[in-house]
Symmetry: C2
Subunit: 342 residues, 2 copies
């Protein structure tokens, strides 16, 4: 059973079992009518030779590769990585092997599409909320079965492909409403880049929620998602004279807390903070961060379902399970209620 060197082929198994190669094929694929005796002989030959079907040949022969391509951008961030992993597991669960390709620049994304086309993947998921990256897809001839993950409906309609994403604006709303509910009236936003779908949506909904509550929505500081930019924003946050900040992700929230500490301000004593993402670390920040949790595993699951359809094809009509992809607030200790004394 242990074989070194060249892998045995189906015909070698056939010879050894004294049957035709087609019969072996029937055995490994099951279902077809094979007599009990032949079945045993073939199985024995397979074991003795350590035979393993060549999935490349199989893919070539019946035209479907049983593989999906996953292009993922900015794979140093929690969101994309988690989505990718959720998607990978879900794909495998459906009998598809994911091939991933991570890109950093629009050019690399184009190269990734080319690569996937060459690989003849049965479906393609593009995970990125970054408009500039998505722009690289404008001219490209995407596979029919392409799904945009986290890119937002605008990019989706431009590229004529479906998209799926966690409800960013719902997440932003619960975050801001939480702060309002605690009595905060002056609430800043430390935003992600405007040309990221999630950055854009969180900012938009922050403004809208404040406006709906009759509050001022002008204190916006734009960061780049990284902790350093949160750290650098501390001065501006103080200048804005707010009592609370809705930060577009946990990494920047961490940097901001750090920066505020350097200015002698404490969280939540002087300023309340709500983040977004709920990193594994966020529960142990000082103070533990109140944040918005997103279920990336569910996103990956739904993405695969949407991409493959129940019958293996891309089914545009299938509505995503919106309830399931709604993020929720995780209350910890970085926010406090404003009292009469404030």
């Amino acid at each position: 059973m242990v074989t070194r060197g060249e892998a045995p082929s189906l015909r070698e198994v056939a010879t050894r079992a004294g049957v035709s190669h087609q019969t072996v094929s029937r055995v490994i694929n099951g279902g077809a009518k094979v007599s009990e005796a032949t079945l045993r002989r073939v199985r024995a030959a397979i074991d003795e030779l350590g035979y393993r079907p060549n999935s490349l040949a199989r893919a070539l022969a019946h035209g479907r590769s049983q593989r999906i391509g996953v292009l993922v951008g900015n794979s140093d961030q929690h969101g994309p990585v988690s989505t990718m992993q959720g998607l990978e597991r879900a794909a495998r669960h459906h009998g598809y092997a994911p091939t991933t390709y991570s890109f950093r620049t629009p050019d690399e994304l184009s190269a990734g599409v080319d690569f996937m086309l060459g690989q003849r993947v049965d479906g393609l998921a593009v995970i990125t909320p970054h408009d500039a990256a998505l722009a690289a897809l404008d001219g490209a001839d995407l596979p029919e079965a392409t799904l945009l993950v986290g890119a937002g409906p605008r990019a989706a309609s431009r590229l004529h492909r479906p998209s799926i994403q966690i409800d960013q604006s719902g997440g932003a709303r619960v975050a801001v409403e939480h702060l309002i509910g605690l009595g905060h009236r002056r609430i800043a936003h430390l935003a992600g880049p405007e040309d990221w779908y999630d950055g854009h949506e969180r900012r938009r909904q922050w403004a809208q929620t404040l406006t709906a509550a009759g509050l001022d929505a002008t204190a916006v500081i734009e960061g780049d998602w990284r902790p350093d930019s949160g750290h650098a924003a501390a001065g501006k946050v103080l200048d804005a004279g707010v009592s609370a900040v809705f930060v577009a992700n946990d990494q920047m929230a961490l940097g901001l807390v750090h920066g505020l500490a350097e200015h002698g301000r404490s969280v939540p004593g002087d300023i309340s903070i709500v983040g977004f993402d709920d990193l594994p670390e966020s529960a142990h920040f000082l103070p533990p961060l109140t944040t918005v949790h997103q279920d990336f595993a569910a996103l990956g699951e739904d993405a695969v379902r949407l991409l493959l359809g129940e019958d293996g094809g891309l089914d545009e009509g299938a509505p995503t399970d919106a309830e399931r992809l709604r993020p929720w607030l995780v209350e910890r200790e970085s926010t406090r209620r404003l009292t009469a004394a404030d």
Copy 2:
């Protein structure tokens, strides 16, 4: 150039250009002798049809898939993920397409090996420092060209495959020596699980460095890498009556700082802490964490070089560039010098 539906094959291009399919093959592979005129005609046909070589067919035909498999365990941790990404980029740079498969249990690892065998990958990298996972490989028939990444020499020799890893013990040594140099005499270790190669090595070297300095090396608390376990260890750390702790990774260090804060202790005021990994967030922890930085991109690079060899085969003789894979200390603010007053 934009094509929908079935992708054109090499023979269709040939027909359109009025040449044989072999000539088209020569054009796309370059190198061979093709006249200027035919070259142009074929190129034109390729463009018009939007032809793209089918990499599956190619792999099948000349027996090498130009792909390497990457099996990665515990892909929720910084280390494995970073290694994987470094490896992915390096592989692509060498003209190989990585197929990744993340596993959580030993069984999934076995399934992953099977899968990769079926995919006929030219090389296989197994990224995990976890002994229990590696044990699943004992009976498996690994491809000849298999490289263990981060598994340590013991597992490597047991499986008769080369391994590569960052110098864990060197990293632990600089961390502990840093604390000793600051005047600390009672230094605990918040360890990773003993059946992880890196956990084991860091612990071993912590003990050895202390012993070499004539200090006591008995205060060990074992965690599970996650922040929660660091948080839970705070009480035990205090009971140990130490002035410093070498923590086996940054996540647990974060949890520990949090736990100590709940006990009214500050870092580095009461206790100095050194972590390991240098997460993107660690510079903004409160206090910013002194830690050991590992260069995972370089590890991935070297891994691919080792796996592919300069000539494409696995070259066991090639020594890894030890200098390059030595981690280094990043001094920040979680440690302080003990003074006469202490």
